[in-house]
């Protein structure tokens, strides 16, 4: 949208999310909606419903934390 003033919908991110990040975002929201609020519950939910982790392996708690620290910090 072209305007004469600052109206930028995305101010928090540096780039558009990748397909993997889109799928992961949806999956995390789905897990939270199902009540998976602890890290083990969340990781179990991701392993059950996908997507798989970045390297194609099952999610681990440390791997999930490391990825979030990179993408969310």
């Amino acid at each position: 949208m072209q305007t004469d003033r600052y109206l930028e919908p995305h101010q928090a991110r540096q780039r558009a999310p990748t397909t993997f990040e889109d799928l992961l975002g949806d999956a995390i929201e789905r897990a939270f909606a199902e009540g998976a609020h602890t890290l083990p519950e969340l990781v179990a939910c991701l392993n059950r419903t996908g997507p798989s982790s970045e390297n194609g392996q099952p999610w681990t708690e440390s791997g999930f934390q490391a990825l979030m620290a990179r993408l969310g910090n």
Partner: protein, 346 residues
């Protein structure tokens, strides 16, 4: 020839550009880089620049010689050299050099209006003083921005219209039930409510009686060297741990017909939950929050400038009435103080 006489209300004239002697956020931190910029804020034009160490400085964007824009000039550390005649002005307002007339009486005088600035929470704050002062008073913001238990993102936008409509909008929680009914987080709760006002140490809370943590149920007004508003909105379950979503907001007048709005979106999260919320905010939540904010912007921008002169307020509006009265009282106090200083009774 017909003439029309306008009587300008001095209180309204003062409020239009924003009360003096307060800190205001004026733009996101990233707006000022290596080159000086000029911003209209608070009824003035302000030149902002950084020195080589990255320290931010601000002067009125008006050379004390002939009024040329200092922001078009050259940065000389903590000074700007006016592009028109090379007059050098230091960040405290002192003219340090007049190259065309060395030794002239302008040199050494504090002839330019300078502003104190500080950067915090992703924004640049400016102290809105009408005269040059050496030390401004401190400012603080609510715990959602100060406590390490919270994480936050700034959302900044520029809206058409008087900033007081933005303040009214935040001081009106009930609009959430109707305007934002289709939003991802405000579909719950009763559509009728009774409100009350509760005084706090720094302002007041306008809140629904008998309903909290269901919808947009309360707004707080605070004055801590800066005027801010605070509210909470429950997140849907898909938003994960961290409790309610908190917003701290400020509205800064630009030029009488534009408002710079600042909304810090805050969540009480730590560790992996903090990182996960921030990931979701960037990739999923920010766009939804933006869509809600756009509903506010579009509604306010479509209101006539004098809409607030033709109102029929009801019980939900006592927060708005309280805030308007409070701001008018502050403006009257400032005008009386200025008149007393000038030796003229108000």
């Amino acid at each position: 020839m017909n003439t029309i006489t306008f009587t300008k209300d001095p209180v309204d004239a003062l409020l239009k550009d924003g009360l003096k002697n307060l800190w205001y956020p004026i733009c996101p931190s990233g707006f000022v880089g290596e080159r000086p910029i000029s911003l209209r804020r608070l009824g003035k034009k302000i030149a902002l620049w950084r020195d080589a160490a990255g320290t931010l400085h601000a002067l009125e964007d008006h050379c004390p010689h002939r009024g040329a824009p200092l922001s078009q000039g050259m940065v000389l550390g903590d000074r700007l050299a006016c592009p028109y005649h090379g007059v050098e002005v230091r960040c405290d307002g002192t003219v340090t050099k007049v190259p065309g007339s060395p030794g002239c009486k302008l040199e050494g005088t504090r002839a330019a209006l300078s502003f104190h600035v500080q950067e915090a929470w992703g924004a640049i704050f400016l102290y809105n003083s009408d005269v040059n002062i050496d030390t401004p008073p401190p400012m603080t913001m609510p715990e959602e921005l100060n406590s390490p238990e919270y994480s936050h993102f700034l959302c900044y936008a520029e809206w058409k219209g008087d900033y007081r409509y933005a303040l009214d909008n935040v001081m009106d929680p009930m609009h959430g039930t109707f305007l934002h009914k289709q939003s991802h987080s405000m579909a719950e709760g009763e559509s009728t409510a009774t409100f009350q006002i509760r005084t706090t140490d720094t302002g007041f809370v306008f809140e629904k009686t008998g309903q909290r943590g269901v919808n947009f149920d309360w707004t707080e007004w605070g004055s801590t060297g800066v005027h801010w508003m605070r509210l909470e909105i429950p997140y849907p379950k898909s938003g994960g741990p961290g409790g309610n979503f908190a917003i701290v907001g400020c509205a800064t007048p630009v030029d009488g017909n534009t408002t710079a709005v600042f909304f810090w979106r805050c969540r009480k999260v730590s560790s992996w939950q903090r990182d996960t919320w921030r990931f979701l905010y960037r990739n999923r939540l920010e766009a939804r929050h933006w869509a809600v904010l756009e509903q506010d912007r579009i509604m306010l921008e479509q209101m006539e400038p004098d809409a607030n002169q033709h109102e029929n307020l009801y019980q939900h509006d006592i927060g708005v009435v309280r805030l308007r009265r409070h701001l008018r009282n502050l403006a009257e106090e400032q005008l009386e103080a200025a008149a007393a200083k000038a030796g003229n009774p108000a």
